[in-house]
């Protein structure tokens, strides 16, 4: 051990007592260290007493006999071993099976959770309904509004309608809406509105009944109750507010909105399986047959196209309509699969 030569003239008992090297030479045996302190003791005779005292202190502290208790060591170990045995027993018979059960339960729960999550994910997002030719379908929306879909029509909407967002629905084809009024009286919020996206228009309503027909770039909006606002964004933007009974027609190719000759109630006659022929030309009736029932129709006598008719005909199926027009206009209708050729008889 290297000794740093200190000035020991100022050393007292306490400084020796606290000197690491001094402690070391007493507690850890090493000849060099002992020789060093012996030599020092000769060098500073006046420090011998202090050194002696410090040495005695260190030895007194260090050589304290270990305490021997009145209690028994082997008895204590027996107690400990006993505790350990009991603990081991518990581990084997309770905790381990319990842990196993917990492990399996956790695994089962994880699988279940995963399955639920997968299902949620799969069904999350949009919900859609569509009808084939000639079929009607009623869809009840999450807010209990009712949509009646005419044949060959489709709607889709976000599965979950958040209460702070407007209700939104996308339409292709024709549908009659009975929208539930959710707004608190005199307190209209954006979130209370119901929006129908059709063509490039947005129809904003509260609680209303209206029919929307979207065929061949023409969108017809017929309001029966309540109020409805037509919004067109982007190029040629406009806003039109409809009153009950109003029926408007929008041509998306011309971006033009015009009032319709036909009245609103007539436009929803289909929901009762009827066709209100007021204001329909024969061509329009044939369009309905194509759009809703999936026929391809060739009008061999173009002059017939603009002929008109009044009254309501049953329209539970296409044959009803065909029967009526054949009789009224005295037509010859030849059918090949879903292709109809119509000519004057």
């Amino acid at each position: 051990m290297e000794h740093q030569h200190q000035d020991y003239t100022q050393y007292t008992t306490t400084t020796f007592f606290n000197d690491e090297q001094f402690i070391h030479h007493i507690l850890k045996w090493d000849d060099a260290a002992i020789a060093y302190w012996e030599q020092l003791s000769g060098q500073y005779p006046d420090k011998r007493a202090a050194m002696e005292e410090a040495r005695t202190w260190i030895l007194l502290l260090n050589r304290q006999p270990a305490y021997h208790p009145g209690t028994d060591k082997s008895q204590l170990w027996k107690k400990i071993a006993n505790h350990i045995a009991v603990d081991e027993h518990r581990q084997q018979h309770y905790y381990k099976p319990l842990k196993l059960v917990a492990k399996w339960t956790a695994a089962a729960a994880a699988v279940l959770l995963f399955m639920i999550a997968v299902r949620e994910m799969a069904t999350h997002g949009e919900k859609s309904f569509s009808t084939t030719f000639g079929k009607h379908e009623q869809v009840i929306l999450p807010d209990e509004s009712v949509v009646t879909l005419n044949g060959n029509s489709a709607i889709h909407y976000a599965r979950s309608w958040k209460t702070d967002k407007p209700r939104e629905i996308w339409l292709n084809g024709e549908a009659y809406f009975e929208v539930k009024h959710v707004a608190i009286k005199n307190r209209l919020q954006q979130s209370d509105s119901f929006q129908v996206h059709v063509s490039d228009l947005s129809l904003m309503v509260l609680g209303t009944k209206f029919n929307v027909r979207n065929r061949r770039s023409i969108t017809e909006i017929s309001l029966l109750e309540g109020s409805l606002r037509i919004e067109k964004n982007g190029a040629g933007a406009f806003v039109k507010i409809l009153r009950p009974g109003d029926a408007f027609m929008y041509d998306s190719s011309k971006q033009l909105l015009t009032a319709m000759e036909r009245k609103a109630p007539a436009n929803k006659a289909w929901t009762a399986n009827e066709l209100d022929l007021d204001g329909y030309t024969l061509q329009e009736i044939l369009d309905v047959l194509e759009d809703n029932y999936g026929y391809q129709i060739t009008l061999a006598t173009p002059a017939l196209a603009q002929k008109r008719l009044t009254g309501t005909v049953p329209a539970a199926n296409a044959n009803d309509i065909l029967f009526v027009i054949r009789k009224v206009f005295n037509l010859k209708i030849s059918q090949q699969a879903n292709h109809l050729t119509i000519s004057q008889n």
Binding site: T14, F17, S41, G42, E52, L60, R63, I80, I84, D87
Partner: protein, 224 residues
């Protein structure tokens, strides 16, 4: 020359005694670790070996905190049962002794706290009987001088705080390094140094009053 001869004589006696008193030896460190590893991998007999080895040192240490043997027994039992229960999560340790001391101290102090006993620490209550001497040549230092030196030390220790006494004990009896003491007592190394400094200062202040006595004692030293 005579003095040197006596010192070398002392060396022999001390080395013989040190074997008797110290429960752990540096050479045992590796041994300790092997046993510790065996215990951690679930060998109960290794735990018993550790128990056998550290029963006396731990009991002795615990006795400094409390004279209640049963309480210390409870603490020991608690410690070893906990060691067994936690064997899978107990980490490898640099020093098994320090690990055990630290854990034991924590268990014991908590028990004392529950009993609402004050933290205390006694040093030098075990004084070797007439037959047991410090183990060095009595011709060098008289019985009376030894008694007076011991008296001084005892009185000075009295003046210290329990914490300071504990550090003195760990340093001179357990022969721990400052870092080890700091880890054991959950102090920073610098505050451990500070506590030792204060303890030494207590000693110094006490001794300045008895310097005259020491001078007298020096003159009465027997020299051959």
């Amino acid at each position: 020359m005579v003095f040197i001869f006596l010192l070398s004589l002392k060396c022999k006696t001390f080395s013989a005694i040190s074997h008797l008193n110290q429960q752990y030896q540096p050479g045992r460190m590796q041994d300790d670790k092997d046993i510790w590893d065996a215990f951690r991998s679930g060998d109960e007999s290794s735990l018993q070996m550790i128990f056998d080895r550290y029963y006396t040192p731990l009991f002795n240490y615990g006795h400094k905190f409390s004279a209640d043997d049963h309480l210390i027994e409870d603490a020991l039992q608690d410690l070893f049962v906990k060691l067994w229960k936690n064997r899978k999560t107990i980490k490898d340790t640099e020093s098994v002794r320090n690990y055990l001391y630290k854990s034991f101290r924590r268990v014991l102090l908590r028990m004392l706290e529950v009993q609402q006993r004050k933290y205390s620490f006694t040093v030098l209550d075990e004084w070797p009987g007439p037959g047991q001497e410090l183990g060095y040549d009595q011709t060098l230092i008289s019985r009376e001088r030894l008694e007076s030196i011991r008296g001084n030390l005892l009185a000075a220790l009295e003046k210290m705080t329990p914490r300071q006494r504990e550090i003195i004990h760990l340093r001179y009896y357990e022969e721990m390094e400052y870092e080890e003491i700091a880890a054991l007592m959950q102090l920073s190394v610098s505050s451990t140094y500070k506590l030792v400094y204060k303890a030494i200062d207590t000693l110094r202040q006490y001794l300045s009053k008895t310097d005259l006595l020491i001078l007298l004692a020096v003159t009465s030293l027997k020299k051959i």
